[in-house]
Amino acid sequence: MSVPGTTAGRRSLPPARRGGADGGRRTVPNLLALVFAVTAGFPLYWMVNTAFKPARDALAPEPKFLPAAPTLENFRDALEVGDFWGSVGRSATVAGATVGIGLVVGLLAAVAVSRFAFRGRRAVIVAVLAVQMVPLVAMIIPVFLLLNEIGQVDRITGLVLTYLTFVLPFTVWTLRGFIVNIPKELEEAAMVDGCTRTGAFLRVVLPLLAPGLVATSIYALVQAWNEYLYAMLIMSQDNQTATVWLGNFVTSRGTDYAPMMAGSTLMALPVVVFFLIVQRKVAAGLTSGAVKG
């Protein structure tokens, strides 16, 4: 329980569930979980379902629960609007940079607040949490003016910088939870073996931090990939990101539901795939740090 990452997988098969009554004992939970999956999955299903329906069926008063004649037409339509690939590319760049920089910078700060004793430590921790409380909507004008002053309007770097402000606090808080859980003895042992402090950290602590890093990176990815308000504000049309691109389907003459759903399905896909790949690590990661208290 104290060493992150090692326990999660093993314990996920609870010993108490062994034995003959197994099948019967799972029926009720299975049913409940299915009800949840169907309910929570409904909006998703509706998005994907609409994406594959002919556009004229989208608003049928008698809803069609399966596309009678599945079509890729909406996807074609969506891809023709504006610059889909360009905006996805920029979103990926922004998300990648936010995740990468957020992790490195956040990790350094997390190490500082969890492995060093210094005056002002508590203040820093509290401040990092407190800055998350500022409603971002209220900051639109000041942030825009600042970015303008430092020449970062309509720049990817400007957007990354902005996203870092809401990714970093979370990263610092979460990683701190992980680091305090890693026994210092491990580092010390490595140093006795001749490692420098940095070397010990890289070789011993970092691997154990992997789940935490994965967890925070997913969080940062989802944030940066899905953010709308600041992306709209900071970037010009030529440099818009994918969420802003989705706004193209909303005109004063109505919303194009079907292509919009196709577009958002395309947008959600990479995140889901990435997520599924690293999901096991996330599950182990998000808590192995925090659980220890």
Binding site: L59, F144, R253
Partner: protein, 424 residues
């Protein structure tokens, strides 16, 4: 007062091409190699070829100058504009709704233009011209307009023995009564979203009332005057009798609801009927496409219902460093050829001279006639706030669902309007 003066001086200095206010406009026209044009997504979706045409005309005159386009949703545009106007990297051309311009004009945000540069400027529609006029000067170019027309289904009208569009209010209500009776109360003889304040206020104007009046340099709301209340009651009678759809919706999806086939008539932007008849929205198996008929909505006291002329203007921010070129681009985007293109897309042109021939064409006659009797929002510095705060929408909704009496709702709305209408 001082601020207004400063803005005025600022604008004067800029239009004379002397120097920038806040922005450094040193050697503006020579240096700028690019102009930025902000339009709403409508242009991008519905008439991109006209934008291209304007670009080509512009390119011929300004070799090597790039035109950069940005398209915005209506809701997002002004928020970004507000922020950008605080910087020195402002767009050179911006599309503004004709009811959005006032607050900006009052604060000197836009540059004065010389109307003689633009085609048909003598003939510009009053509703659009007014929306870019401040203290007798012009600060923008009308782009296009949109009138409201009544559209109904002849198949349903014929079911009750009506085969002509109604000529006056009595004929209209007689027909609607019959339709309503025949179709039952799940059906709306006239689908009229209550929050559509353009229609609600048309009734007010029709009864001789008004939203607000200017007296001695100060605006006062007048919704609770006997005339206005009469208009609101006329409107309420229509809602009670013919509107059996969702009384809490706004008019954003009227064309979708109309396409569902549970209503006979709408009074809407001229494009809405056509869009509802699009197979994407027509859920009646093509009945809309075959049977839609438009006519100018009669007023309750004879003549026509006063029509709200909505539309867009093109303005040049005062801080733009390429005003000359911006004006040139606008020139190409609003010339007669471009206006013809806009007419084809179901809009009204920006000039009376171009509107007149439309009255002869049965397709466009109803919209063109609507221009005979028009109304516009009060030209008060705080009007935009009244609109953005949804004062009229909330009032109409309260009246329609019976939350408040007409008198009480009008009085409350007056108080809310008075609080902001002179602000700025």
């Amino acid at each position: 007062m001082k601020r207004g003066l400063m803005a005025a001086v600022c604008v004067a200095a800029m239009t004379a091409g002397i120097a920038g206010c806040g922005a450094d406009g040193g050697g503006e026209e020579a240096a700028a190699r690019e102009i930025t044009v902000w339009l709403t997504v409508d242009a991008q979706k519905n008439w991109p070829e006209l934008v291209k045409q304007a670009d080509q005309a512009f390119a011929a005159r300004h070799k090597g100058v790039k035109v950069k386009h940005e398209y915005f949703e209506w809701t997002a545009k002004n928020q970004k504009l507000d922020a950008v106007l605080a910087t020195d990297k402002v767009p050179d051309v911006v599309e503004m709704g004709n009811s959005e311009t006032l607050g900006y004009l009052a604060k000197g945000a836009f540059a004065e233009i010389d109307p003689s540069r633009f085609e048909n400027s003598e003939q510009w529609l009053d509703a659009l011209r007014e929306s870019v006029t401040w203290n007798g000067k012009l600060y923008g170019v009308p782009y296009y307009a949109g009138a409201r027309t009544a559209t109904w289904r002849t198949d349903i009208a014929e079911e009750v023995g009506v085969d002509e569009p109604p000529a006056d209010w009595k004929e209209l209500t007689a027909a609607l009564d019959k339709i309503q009776k025949k179709k039952g109360d799940k059906f709306s003889a006239w689908y009229q979203p209550t929050r559509d304040w353009y229609t609600g206020m048309a009734f007010v104007k029709d009864a001789g009332g008004d939203i607000a009046e200017l007296e001695g340099g100060k605006w006062t709301a007048t919704l609770s005057t006997p005339e206005s209340v009469k208009g609101l009651k006329n409107w309420k009678a229509v809602i009670d009798a013919y509107m059996h759809g969702d009384k809490n919706k706004d008019d954003a999806d009227r064309y979708i609801v109309y396409g569902q086939g549970r209503s006979a008539m709408i009074y809407a932007n001229s494009w809405e009927g056509a869009t509802a008849a699009d197979p994407k929205f027509d859920k009646t198996g093509g009945k809309l496409a075959e049977n839609l008929e438009s006519f100018a909505l009669p007023g309750t006291k004879g003549g026509l219902m006063p029509n709200f002329i909505g539309g867009s203007d093109l303005v040049i921010p005062a801080k733009s460093d390429a005003k000359e070129m911006a004006a040139d681009w606008i020139k190409g985007f609003t010339d007669t050829k471009a206006q013809r293109g806009l007419i084809e897309k179901g809009n009204l042109p920006n000039a009376k001279s171009l509107l007149a021939p439309l009255a002869d064409d049965p397709e466009t006659a109803a919209a063109a006639r609507a221009n005979e009797n028009t109304w516009f929002v009060p030209m008060a510095p705080g009007w935009l706030q009244v609109e953005k705060k949804q004062v009229l929408q909330n009032m109409l909704n309260d009246i329609a669902v019976g939350k408040k009496s007409v008198e009480a709702a009008a009085k409350d709305a007056d108080a809310q309007i008075n609080a902001v209408i002179n602000g700025g």
